[in-house]
């Protein structure tokens, strides 16, 4: 019996060895850092799912120039320390040629010195504009800058002749970046912020802030946060009988928000990536093809609707694929080709990078949508 098991072991070892020697050209390794667990898991999970899905698809179609892609994903739990450790591991141990992620602005800021020092292209999936402003040689991003969403909202307010607003932002990375952009861009659009208030990510009642807003001169309320806070605010607004228009950020552009807010969601306006409205887009829209294939695939794979967070990872993988197809698969070649990407119609928008712009999107990356009868409708 003992001899038999040794023979099996030998055979197994031999076959592994043989595989290594005679296998097809080695896979191209791409690293990914997503906060699959922890508070930002609502970002990390769809991102990981989308990245895995698109890599599988690329491999099923024969890979890139005959070589398969291999995705190495590490969970960062939303913690900058872990993200830096994992980035080091990806670069030094796994020897990846490019890194996708991390999911949040904080983690991205922590990881980018590592990418810069080691010379590995990094495509962040976080929104904070400071990731690529000022431009860093090796760092790109796919999530739309918060400033673009703010411009979209302020343009709408200008059209509606609303000039006094109250802003209510969540006290986390997403909210503070939104608050910064809302304040920085207000003057340019002739908008005055009459109330500037915040709420905690775990707060369950925002009536005190809203009562303050009700007593102010505000003509509209802009709320900046991710689920579940904004749903509480929508409900509180309804309970308090506040008649002001309520505008949300792209942080809630998923069906989950409508579920959470229920009837209170009706009439809310928000800027959003095109994912959620892919069906009602005109067929002339450049992104329509990418969007529909992403939404359909995600539905088939994971039985839930794909959202724009997953789209950031989808875009990142496709951008790297394009770069490798055009150039080589060394980190330097990928970086150079990424920078030369023009007019790539992805999920987040139409990307055009340049040496002075590593974010690659303009405000057309967002559309304004209104929630009507528990569904999304385009605001013309």
């Amino acid at each position: 019996m003992k001899r038999f098991s040794i023979r099996v072991l030998l055979a197994a070892l031999l076959s592994i060895f043989a595989n290594n020697v005679f296998a097809a050209p080695a896979a191209i390794k791409i690293g990914a850092l997503f906060s699959v667990t922890g508070p930002p898991s609502f970002l990390g999970e769809p991102e990981r799912n989308s990245a895995k899905m698109v890599v599988e698809e690329i491999n099923a179609k024969g890979g890139i120039k005959g070589r398969k892609l291999e995705l190495v994903v590490y969970d960062t739990g939303g913690d900058a320390t872990k993200a830096v450790q994992a980035a080091n591991r990806l670069i030094k141990e796994d020897k990846v040629v490019a890194i996708i992620g991390p999911s949040t602005t904080g983690e991205s800021m922590a990881v980018l010195p590592v990418a810069e020092k080691e010379g590995i292209p990094l495509i962040s999936c976080a929104a904070g504009s400071k990731i690529t402003d000022p431009v860093k040689k090796w760092v790109f991003k796919t999530a739309q800058n918060d400033g673009l969403a703010v411009s979209k909202i302020y343009e709408y307010l200008n059209r509606k002749k609303i000039s006094r607003v109250a802003i209510l932002t969540v006290s986390d990375g997403f909210g503070s970046s939104g608050r910064e952009q809302l304040k920085a861009n207000a003057a340019k659009f002739g908008i005055k912020i009459v109330v500037d208030d915040t709420y905690g990510p775990k707060d369950t009642d925002m009536t005190s802030q809203l009562t303050k807003i009700r007593g102010s001169q505000a003509q509209a309320v802009i709320c900046w946060g991710t689920n579940p806070g904004p749903a509480v605010i929508a409900k509180n607004v309804k309970q308090l009988g506040i008649k002001l228009p309520l505008i949300m950020s792209h942080g809630v552009s998923s069906k989950k928000f409508i579920e959470l807010a229920g009837d209170a969601a009706d009439g809310i306006i928000l800027p959003s990536g095109r994912v959620i409205v892919s069906d009602v887009l005109p067929s002339s829209d450049k992104q329509k093809k990418s969007l529909q294939s992403f939404v359909k695939d995600y539905q088939n794979h994971y039985k839930v609707e794909g959202d724009h967070f997953g789209g950031h990872a989808w875009d990142a993988v496709m951008l790297i694929k394009g770069a490798i197809e055009r150039g080589g698969d060394s980190p330097t070649a990928i970086r150079d080709q990424l920078e030369k990407t023009r007019g790539f119609a992805g999920i987040g928008g139409v990307f055009s990078f340049s040496p002075s712009d590593h974010a690659g999107l303009n405000k057309d990356a967002f559309v304004l949508v209104e929630i009507r009868n528990k569904d999304w409708a385009l605001v013309k």
Binding site: G78, T81, Q85, R89, E93, G106, M109, A110, G173
Partner: protein, 321 residues
């Protein structure tokens, strides 16, 4: 006492030899964090293991050290070393002032108060956006440098951090084997008895609390200058709990235990990456098993396991003969 010196020198040799084994790999980067965590676990162990006073706010002091260093160097362009000294003094004084009222509390109430303290500090990091950069963090913190050597890679940082860690270990060993160390343990066993014996328990508790905060703050400064980026998420309640876990898993009232605990809890998640999505479950199970079967921590548990194995093999050997 001579044995202590031999043990310490042995540790120094191990620390010096590790870079020869792991070279430039990412494990060296992990070892840098092991060093920082070892300092923090050590600081907490002085308080928790020796004096018997719990603190669930250690991450707050760690964070304060990091933020004071970060803000002074980025906004005020101070030299990192000076910023580090200011951070350490500031945090020590703060802990000293807060220590008097807080350390009157005992048991669960002390746990609650320190927990509150940690959370307040965490909230300040998040809300004082103009100074701390808020939740998305503070970037562009400079590296430390001595005489032209800039500590900007893993190898240099390894020696920097472990240099500080070894000094803290040396000082702590000295402290716990001194009269003060004995006084601390007497407070641990019975505060009333200690007082009767003439130990000024009240002052001593505050002093050790301040010392613990001071070491944590230095670790925080080192963290800020090696990472060059800090965000509040690294200094939350979870991290305080992780530090308590390091101390308990390593072994209460054991300096070397703190280092073992810090090394284990920092390296384990990296080693468990092979389990992919299930690593957290395996991690949790391992911790449960360790606390169940090694209640005295790794320092006492590992020798116990070895001696049991020895005993077993002897018995088996006897059976054969």
């Amino acid at each position: 006492m001579n044995r202590e010196i031999v043990k310490y020198l042995l540790l120094v040799v191990v620390v010096l030899f590790i870079p020869l084994l792991v070279h430039e790999g990412y494990m060296l980067n992990v070892m840098v964090f092991v060093g920082i965590h070892a300092m923090l676990a050590l600081a907490l162990n002085l308080l928790l293991g020796y004096a018997g006073q719990i603190s669930l706010g250690q991450a707050g002091f760690f964070g304060l050290g990091a933020y004071v260093s970060g803000i002074l160097t980025t906004s005020f362009n101070l030299d990192p070393w000076i910023a580090m000294i200011i951070a350490a003094i500031f945090v020590t004084l703060l802990a000293f002032v807060i220590g008097f009222p807080i350390l009157k509390l005992k048991g669960h109430y002390l746990a609650m108060a320190t927990l509150g303290l940690g959370i307040i500090i965490y909230i300040v990091f998040n809300e004082a956006v103009d100074h701390t950069g808020g939740p998305s963090g503070l970037s562009g913190i400079p590296n430390l440098k001595i005489a032209g050597i800039v500590f900007d890679n893993d190898l240099k940082n390894y020696f920097l951090i472990w240099g500080f860690t070894l000094v803290s270990i040396g000082l702590s060993l000295n402290l716990v084997h001194s009269r003060i160390g004995r006084a601390l343990r007497s407070i641990h066993d019975s505060e009333v008895a200690a007082r009767v014996m003439g130990v000024n328990a009240r002052i001593l508790k505050v002093q050790i609390f301040a010392l613990s905060a001071c070491i944590s703050a230095v670790a925080g400064s080192l963290y800020a200058h090696t990472m060059t980026f800090i965000a509040p998420a690294s200094f939350g309640f979870n991290f305080s709990v992780e530090l308590v876990t390091m101390v308990i898993i390593g072994g209460l009232a054991s300096i070397y235990g703190s280092i073992l605990g810090a090394a284990l809890l920092t390296m384990l998640p990296e080693l468990l990456r092979t389990f992919q999505d299930y690593d957290i479950i395996v991690y949790g199970l391992l911790l449960i098993v360790m606390t169940m079967y090694m209640p005295g921590g790794l320092v006492n548990g590992i020798p116990a396991v070895f001696s049991r194995l020895k005993g077993k093999s002897k018995r088996e050997g006897g059976g054969d003969a």
